[in-house]
């Protein structure tokens, strides 16, 4: 078997890179959020400490649950995220299309929601079941807009669905510099907020209301992996946006700085949205995405078809 493949998946740009970067960015998130709330915030390595400490804790499994699903759910989503980060990362860093195209990514990402709800509701806890319903409704809400957002770069690159070709199409001008691109980018940012269940779309977890919903019964290493999954998404989604709209990364001299800034800017925008908005109700989220975000992105699609 190809050694490179394993390296891509397990070290760079897959699991290890995504996990470490994700946990680090997670620290940025926690620190900035703390500053928003006039707190000091955790030390740099706090997320790593949390992860390893959780690994050492006891796992409590519900007696009457579907135990196999309860246990494998976090690992399947972890595997999916490692894979998606590999696919996106190889195109971004090595300019190689590998494993799958944009449609594959779109469908792979749905596995996350599936696993969250299956793992959570396998316990039979009523809060997990409520979280189940909310998670799927949120998926429905943001998915429509998300599909439209992903279609914009497909149209603008002349109907290419390979990540490599979408990147190549941006050599002469990044899609974010066009009217359709910027609209899609902004809506994409909001969709990501919902996909990562960050406030204002933290509806399925809603600690104060349904006590983390699907994750309620999770503890120990299983919870550690759910947390890790969450932080890995801090890498995957911004990278996807950079790839689709912002011309990817470049590593020649000063461009490195720009690349890092691009990524950080998206993350900071996400953190700002997260910290300045209260949690909305699920029907509000539905109408936000279906009544406002989707028509806006439809306009972006029309603009893209006509070349704007």
């Amino acid at each position: 078997m190809n050694f490179e493949l394993f390296f891509y998946l397990l070290v760079f740009p897959g699991f290890l890179f995504t996990a470490i970067l994700g946990l680090t960015v997670g620290w940025v998130d926690r620190k900035v959020s703390a500053r928003f709330q006039y707190r000091v915030g955790p030390p740099f390595l706090q997320n790593f400490n949390d992860f390893f400490k959780l690994l050492g804790k006891e796992t409590i499994v519900v007696k009457d649950s579907v135990k196999s699903m309860f246990v494998i759910a976090p690992f399947v989503s972890f595997a999916m995220l490692a894979l998606v980060s590999t696919i996106i990362g190889t195109s971004l860093f090595f300019n190689i299309s590998f494993g799958g195209d944009l449609i594959v990514i779109m469908y792979l990402l749905m596995i996350f929601s599936v696993m969250v709800v299956i793992g959570g509701s396998s316990t039979g806890n009523v809060y997990s079941s409520i979280g189940f319903g909310r998670e799927i409704k949120l998926l429905l809400a943001d998915e429509l807009a998300f599909i439209l957002v992903l279609l914009v770069p497909i149209i603008k690159s002349g109907y290419q669905i390979n990540l490599e070709n979408i990147l190549t199409a941006q050599v002469n001008g990044m899609f974010i510099n066009s009217a359709s691109g910027i609209i899609a980018f902004i809506i994409g940012l909001l969709c990501i907020q919902a996909k990562m269940t960050l406030p204002p779309f933290q509806i399925p977890e809603a600690e104060t209301e349904i006590v983390e919903g699907p994750f309620m019964e999770y503890s120990g290493p299983l919870l550690a992996f759910w947390k890790l999954n969450h932080f890995m998404m801090y890498v995957i989604f911004p990278f996807l946006l950079v790839l689709l709209f912002w011309g990817g990364f470049s590593f020649n001299g000063i461009d490195i700085l720009w690349s890092v800034l691009k990524y950080l800017l998206i993350v900071v925008l996400m953190i700002i949205i997260k910290n300045t908005n209260p949690r909305v109700r699920i029907d509000t989220a539905l109408s936000f995405f279906w009544k406002y975000a989707t028509p806006l992105t439809l306009i972006a699609i029309v603009l893209a078809v006509f070349g704007y």
Binding site: V66, F78, M110, F132, L286
Partner: protein, 604 residues
């Protein structure tokens, strides 16, 4: 020559069906099993060597071509697997009829596919509709007779359209006569259009595409699950889509606008039925609507005029028959154990029926198009074809097709949502106490589901090597197209390999660190009671009450969009007037006669 090997596909199952009438039930099962096994062997032999046609009175009646063989192969495979499920589980009375109808239906369906003469096509098409009706009458529910009647009227009515279509085709193209062998009638002028639409109605009614789909949910809800998995989920899809594919590749030559119209109907089918599935509380009805929505993808693929999408559409058809019969049968096992198909009363059975749950999960993920299962591969092919098609059109059509693509992709997200609700309500969440002692399904049932699930995985991971190269590419080539090259990139083997490796890494870390303790579920500091249980059927009420959708749903529940119900209303109100006009008064009848006489005089 009176007997040809080809005829064995027709004669053997038919003979077995009639012999079965006089045999005890055990022998009926054995004989049916034998004939279907023999059918599989025959399919294998025919794949080695395609035989000639079979003529009678110098008219070719049956012939075997690539697409025919492909459909027959899957008729045989699916009826074999579903038979394994049906061996036990039916009650004594139903069993007798079932094992008569089952081989007979296989025979008729084979005959439809093999027919090259329009009349034999029509006759066997009608007969297969008749057995569908007879299956429907086996239902035990309160609404079963109604559903059977509805099925019969829609399917029987579509037969009339088929007849009309063939007659018009015969009028347009007398040189080919009744032969269905590649007449390639150009779609010009009103007659060709009428013929095309007539055939389209027949294909759509059989496959269950919008707006002729309404019999599928009713049939699924009210008939024995074996027949629901056998006919609307598998064989009728094969036949309907077969007719559609035949129409578009060999019977007619269509123009691009017609492609776009058909794609739009496909997209409409996807979205309408998936939205209807969302609000169903009966599992079978729900699965019926799901089955309808998948037809939309097939129509989109086959009608798109792009080779990748055409191959994808055919692939989606067989994938659909596999995972949908899997879902029907998995839930059938649950229903046979619990005695209810109402999702409100089920829940938490994943622990009691782990194998059935696993099969249903695999089927569910396949139907929602989650990689690396088979449903994804075919959908991916269809999307590519549509995107490829879109690229070469002008802006207006581009937007239109993009809308269809968006609907299709969003449709699969909706399907996922539906399937998750179904799985939650059946297998996840909290189990009602009365189902504490439910046991796993009998061996034959989960074995047959297991075969279908294995096919789901195998066709997903080895899509190119197995189904595409073995079954579909020969059909594509025989239809005069080139083998498609993919525009996108999807390597299921690498995807699954990497998924497994990453998964193992995770499990390894867990295995090294885990210390497990078992405990109850607590709510508010107390062990959770059964009253803290939600079935999950109400999950999507927000969607149902969404401003724009609310009134549409209300109209749909009043059956305003059901052609059959509308037709029924119209017929009854019309005959009501006629009834009123016949009060039994002699003077009035004399008046009618005078008026009639005057009209005749005026006309003449």
């Amino acid at each position: 020559m009176i007997i040809n090997e080809l005829l064995l596909f027709l004669i053997l199952p038919l003979a077995v069906g009639f012999v079965n009438l006089f045999l005890p039930v055990v022998l009926r099962k054995v004989l049916t099993f034998l004939v279907l096994t023999f059918g599989l062997v025959m399919v294998y032999l025919f794949y080695q060597r395609l035989t000639d046609s079979f003529a009678y009175f110098n008219v070719v009646i049956f012939s075997l071509n690539q697409i025919g063989l492909f459909i027959v192969a899957f008729i045989q495979i699916l009826s074999f697997i579903i038979l394994i499920f049906s061996v036990n589980g039916l009650d004594k009375y139903s069993e007798k009829r079932f094992f008569f109808l089952y081989p007979v239906t296989v025979s008729f369906c084979n005959a439809v596919v093999l027919s090259e003469h329009a009349l034999s096509f029509l006759i066997f098409w009608g007969l297969s509709g008749l057995t569908l009706y007879l299956f429907a009458t086996m239902g035990k529910t309160h609404d079963a007779p109604k559903a059977a009647k509805k099925t019969f009227i829609i399917i029987g009515g579509s037969d009339a359209f088929l007849l009309m279509g063939f007659v018009i085709m015969w009028l347009i193209s007398p040189s080919t006569g009744w032969s269905l062998n590649n007449p390639q009638i150009p779609l010009q002028g009103e007659y060709a259009h009428i013929a095309f639409i007539c055939l389209l109605i027949a294909a759509f009614a059989k496959a269950g595409a919008f707006p002729f789909h309404t019999w599928v949910p009713d049939f699924s809800q009210n008939s024995p699950v074996e027949s629901a998995a056998f006919l609307p989920a598998s064989l009728d899809k094969l036949l309907g889509i077969f007719l559609l594919a035949k129409m578009l590749t060999s019977l007619f030559v269509v123009y691009p606008l017609m492609n776009v119209i058909l794609i739009s109907i496909g997209a409409l089918t996807v979205i309408v039925s998936v939205m209807m599935a969302m609000i169903q509380n009966n599992a079978y009805r729900f699965l019926g609507y799901c089955a309808v929505s998948q037809v939309g993808y097939m129509v989109m693929g086959i009608a798109s005029g792009s080779v990748i999408a055409f191959a994808g559409g055919l692939f989606h058809m067989i994938n659909h028959t596999i995972y949908k019969s899997n879902l029907f049968l998995s839930f059938g096992s649950v229903e046979k154990r619990t005695g209810t198909a109402e999702l409100d009363y089920l829940g938490g059975l994943g622990n009691n029926m782990p194998l059935t749950f696993l099969m249903a999960l695999i089927g569910g993920l396949s139907v929602s198009g989650i990689p690396p299962f088979n449903g994804f591969f075919s959908k991916w092919m269809i999307y590519q074809g549509l995107i490829e098609k879109t690229a070469i059109l002008d802006s207006g059509f581009q937007l239109w097709l993009l809308a269809c693509i968006i609907i299709a992709i969003f449709g699969s997200a909706l399907t996922l949502a539906n399937i998750m609700k179904f799985l939650h309500a059946t297998f996840l969440g909290r189990r009602p106490e009365i189902y504490k002692d439910i046991k796993e399904a009998p061996v034959n049932q989960w074995f047959s589901n297991g075969l279908l699930s294995t096919l789901c995985i195998l066709f997903g991971i080895m899509a190119v090597a197995l189904p595409l190269k073995m079954f579909i590419y020969p059909v594509v080539e025989a239809s005069g197209m080139n083998i498609p090259t993919f525009v996108g990139l999807y390597n299921p083997l690498i995807i699954i390999l990497l998924l497994i490796i990453a998964f193992l890494v995770g499990i390894l870390i867990y295995g090294l660190t885990a210390k497990v303790r078992y405990d109850d579920v607590y709510v508010g500091g107390m062990p959770a009671l059964e009253k803290f249980r939600i079935a999950g059927t109400e999950f999507y009420n927000e969607v149902r009450n969404f401003t724009l959708l609310k009134s549409i749903y209300n109209y749909a529940e009043k059956k305003y969009f059901d052609l059959y119900e509308m037709g029924r209303e119209f017929t009854f109100s019309f005959s009501g007037y006629l009834q009123k006009a016949h009060p039994g008064q002699l003077q009035l009848y004399v008046l009618y006669m005078v008026i009639g006489f005057l009209i005749i005089m005026l006309v003449v």
